[in-house]
């Protein structure tokens, strides 16, 4: 399993663009918003938590179809399915690799982009905390969507259609944490809800994703 994680990370580094592309997309998104709503702090500040979270979510979506598609094309997925590691474990590891290559750079970049959107300083720790807790669920749910659409020729668009509704609870609690952090309110409740959702997703979704993969390998 560690070998699989190492290989996926090595592939992401060598193929290039793996880390950069999502962050670049995130930057463009955050730069576009002020053009749409105006440059005033009073306009940007209230929507900053939402824009940052929606931006992170959409950037995460970009690279989802690569989680399984490449391995399906070159036959690695067949071989992984016959390997001694359970397919559920392989799914979890591949989602983890996606999180490390996509989620972590987004988390690192989010405070910087927060400056662009006039996010007040006291909200930044909550932004980082909410993304740290929430994005693993995004990667895992994305892996589920990727597993369902892996055999399809034009799976990309369908993948977004299937996965985005599943992101709603995470998005709601994630933004709520940042918003309350910004207003210096109590963040404990949404934080617990978000952590609960992530824990549930990480525990259960690998089984659904592995079941979908087995169907697609048939």
């Amino acid at each position: 399993m560690i070998a699989l994680l190492k290989r996926d990370l090595a592939l992401a580094v060598r193929a290039g663009g793996g880390f950069g592309l999502g962050v670049a997309f995130f930057l463009i998104l955050c730069a576009l918003v002020p053009f749409g709503v105006g440059p005033e702090t009073s306009a940007l500040r209230p929507i900053a938590p939402g824009i940052l979270w929606v931006g992170a979510l959409l950037s995460c979506l970009l690279s989802l179809d690569r989680i399984f598609a490449l391995d399906h094309e070159d036959g690695s997925l067949d071989l992984l399915a016959t390997a001694p590691i359970p397919l559920e474990g392989a799914v979890a590891v591949k989602a983890l690799a996606h999180w490390v290559t996509t989620g972590l750079p987004l988390i690192a970049a989010a405070p910087l982009f927060g400056i662009l959107l006039h996010l007040p300083g006291q909200a930044v720790p909550w932004l980082i905390a909410s993304l740290l807790i929430g994005t693993p669920a995004l990667s895992m749910l994305g892996a589920f969507g990727a597993a369902i659409t892996v055999g399809l020729r034009r799976g990309g668009l369908l993948l977004s259609l299937l996965v985005l509704p599943l992101y709603i609870p995470t998005l709601i609690f994630g933004t709520e944490i940042v918003r309350r952090g910004m207003e210096q309110g109590s963040t404990a409740t949404p934080l617990l809800f978000l952590a609960g959702i992530t824990a549930g997703v990480l525990a259960l979704v690998p089984f659904a994703a592995a079941a979908a993969l087995r169907v697609n390998l048939r």
Partner: protein
């Protein structure tokens, strides 16, 4: 003790069974070559034995984690070198060192080249070298000699022979004569599934026929 026992196996593709009533056993040191016309279900049968799809009927008995499967796609990553590719699969399967496998398939000189630079035949050889590092006794091979030249076919045959001599077994579908005289041949043509109402339909196409 046989490595693989298949009894009364029926497999299906596209919701229709292709062959049915197939039975055979493979002991250590034995090789079995599947023959039959296109579309009879050789690939499907091999995938079923490898555990990639469930049998429609009958059973496949073998020890857990005994199969190494190789098909048309080699499972290679273009961005990794030959050694890295092989080392990865060795680590995943908990198998042996990569050096002897590279030497056996004449890949030692290419060990540090990225897999992207390999020719089709060289990739194929690397894909077959992967079988050796899995350390698994039962090789399930689907058209293993595609894009291999005559020398490489002979080299591959000797690798299979060494595997058999070491107590392994091989089940393969191939149209080329490998020169494996000790291998048995099973022609699937007589087992072609007869259309008709099935008790347990293989899929929608049988359930609604």
């Amino acid at each position: 003790m046989s490595l693989l026992a298949v009894h009364d196996l029926a497999v299906s593709r596209g919701g229709l069974r292709t062959v049915e009533g197939v039975s055979f056993t493979l002991r250590g040191g034995e090789a079995l070559i599947l023959r039959g016309p296109n579309g009879i279900g050789k690939t499907t049968l091999l995938r079923t034995v490898a555990g990639l799809q469930p049998p429609t009927e009958g059973g496949v008995e073998m020890a857990e984690d005994a199969v190494a499967y190789a098909a048309h796609a080699d499972g290679l990553k273009a961005a990794l070198t030959v050694t890295e590719n092989l080392r990865f699969w060795s680590a995943v399967f908990g198998g042996g060192p990569v050096g002897p496998a590279l030497a056996a398939m004449d890949l030692a000189a290419l060990a540090d080249r990225p897999a992207a630079a390999l020719s089709a035949g060289q990739k194929r050889r690397l894909g077959l070298a992967r079988l050796m590092v899995t350390g698994r006794p039962l090789w399930v091979l689907d058209e293993p000699t595609v894009s291999l030249d005559a020398d490489s076919v002979a080299r591959f045959a000797s690798v299979v022979r060494a595997h058999l001599a070491g107590g392994g077994a091989a089940l393969m579908a191939t149209h080329i004569d490998l020169g494996l005289d000790e291998a048995r041949v099973l022609d699937l043509t007589p087992y072609r599934a007869r259309p008709g109402r099935a008790v347990r339909p293989a899929g929608f196409n049988e359930a609604f026929a």
